[in-house]
Symmetry: C2
Subunit: 262 residues, 2 copies
DNA sequence: CGTTCAGTTGACCATGATCAAGAGTGGTGG
DNA sequence: CCACCACTCTTGATCATGGTCAACTGAACG
């Protein structure tokens, strides 16, 4: 079974055996362990390495001066943290461990070497970066427009599908370490209201959430309840249909993607 | 006076005269005019060009099936739309014109040529991409955690500073074409409540908003009211302090940024 | 076996939504 | 030039979603 990063990247680009070997090597870099509820990176830091999550969950978050906290995104195995250290000079958000966390520390130079030698990997890395931006956009919609029930349902759908693409679901259930307070911070609700909302989802049979494990008996139903449309995740599978249609309607069109140098 | 794109990019990287000439050429590409309230790109499209906003305002947005609309970001002169067409195969959001809009259409190949020949420009383009991602993050915080008054104040601060960096403010006022309904869609409020909130901001002397023009008599006061911290915009000026501190504390450190090929 | 932390429940409250109507403004065509 | 239309802004009355505060339960872990 391939490692999570390889699985994620192959979600987008077909990789050669050489590419896979390169990625395996990345994964084997110096590993750092972070204890639950400790920070991997803190706002204002200027990290010199890129972190690759090998095992465990983390969350990106920002805090306001008066203590309010907003979780910006969850990070799961296969996610890279802060490719942007190549460009921006300090990180603008913190990353905290939700569980015990194992991360590979990838040196700038190492990543740079791979990026120059394996264009497939580079494209796939940027793909991950852009998908995570698309996820940000969806979160703005989530907190801005959806009701409490929709928000929580939507979050469950997203997490489940993202875990699925890295092989961390068994088809209808997955680990789910965030506490109700974490869900609250991610959805812009309070923990009390998240509790009531989760109970409602349970009552209507849409989710089973217990013992840090999430089960979704009927994904389509939960998606409907959360107004969830997976297109924004830009997964291969969810794009298949659109892809096929586009190729059919634009016969002479898309050459393989032209990578852009940076 | 340099064009808005040049101004924006120089906010990050010093550009050579050759770089500036290249950018001027980009700006001189085929121009497209879009009427107010019409779409430049629609969700699901697979555009073959990158748009550069020359004049006017646009907004990125997503809509839910039942008509709810969330504005994800405003786009102003100097903003590039969808650099990601190099990687993702369909756009996941629409871009609509708020005013009459003039955009330059930059062909993939053209951009690719410049990217390979001018590393400074490439870095600067990716910088813009990453900053806009950071802005997305801040919007999640805005809609997720802030009160109505804070949200609107925060939006005003952001827009004002972004316009300032492209030379579209006179120090304390700027154009502001979005309607109160647009502000509502951007902040996750209703138009009625935005109206009351704007009135409150007016009453306390924090903003003057009339005739599509925004005036901020006391920016520091408005920033305080909106819990606004400009760090997330990654502007040169707001980073100066941190930069200086970092250089002082890490003597042997940061070599010029290693661009990563893609 | 006590302490801690997540989850749960209830009573009450407030922010912001909804609905509806009217006022101002600008553009268009008769 | 004026009448009309469309759009934005404004205001009031009422309502509902979700917040706040506080107490209690239960499981996990030393």
């Amino acid at each position: 079974m391939p490692n999570p990063l390889t699985r994620r990247l192959e979600e987008y680009t077909p990789l050669s055996n050489a590419d896979r070997a390169e990625l395996a090597q990345l994964t084997a870099q110096a590993t750092r362990i972070v204890e639950p509820r400790h920070d991997l990176i803190r706002e204002g830091d200027t990290p010199s390495v890129v972190y690759l999550i090998l095992k465990g969950w983390a969350c990106r978050y920002r805090t306001l001066k008066d203590g309010r906290r907003q979780i910006i995104d969850f990070a799961i195995p296969g996610d890279l943290c802060d490719l942007n250290i190549f460009i921006l000079d300090h990180v603008d958000h913190s990353i905290g461990a939700l569980t015990k966390l194992a991360v590979a520390q990838i040196e700038r130079d190492e990543l740079h070497r791979i990026a120059t030698s394996s264009p497939n990997i580079t494209t796939a890395l940027w793909w991950q970066e852009l998908v995570s931006k698309s996820i940000h956009r969806e979160w703005i919609v989530n907190v801005g427009q959806r009701s409490a029930l929709e928000r929580v349902a939507h979050l469950f759908c997203e997490i489940f599908l993202r875990l699925e693409t890295v092989g961390l679901s068994d088809g209808f259930s997955c680990d789910f370490p965030p506490t109700q307070q974490d869900i609250a911070d991610a959805t812009g609700l309070t923990a009390v209201h998240v509790n009531r909302t989760v109970q409602e989802l349970r009552r209507s049979g849409l989710v089973v959430l217990e013992g840090r494990r999430l089960t979704i008996p009927d994904l389509a139903a939960l998606q409907a309840a959360g107004m969830f449309n997976p297109a924004y995740l830009h997964h291969k599978r969810s794009d298949k249909h659109t892809d096929a249609m586009r190729r059919a309607s634009a016969p002479g069109a898309p050459a393989p993607i032209q990578p852009i140098a940076i």
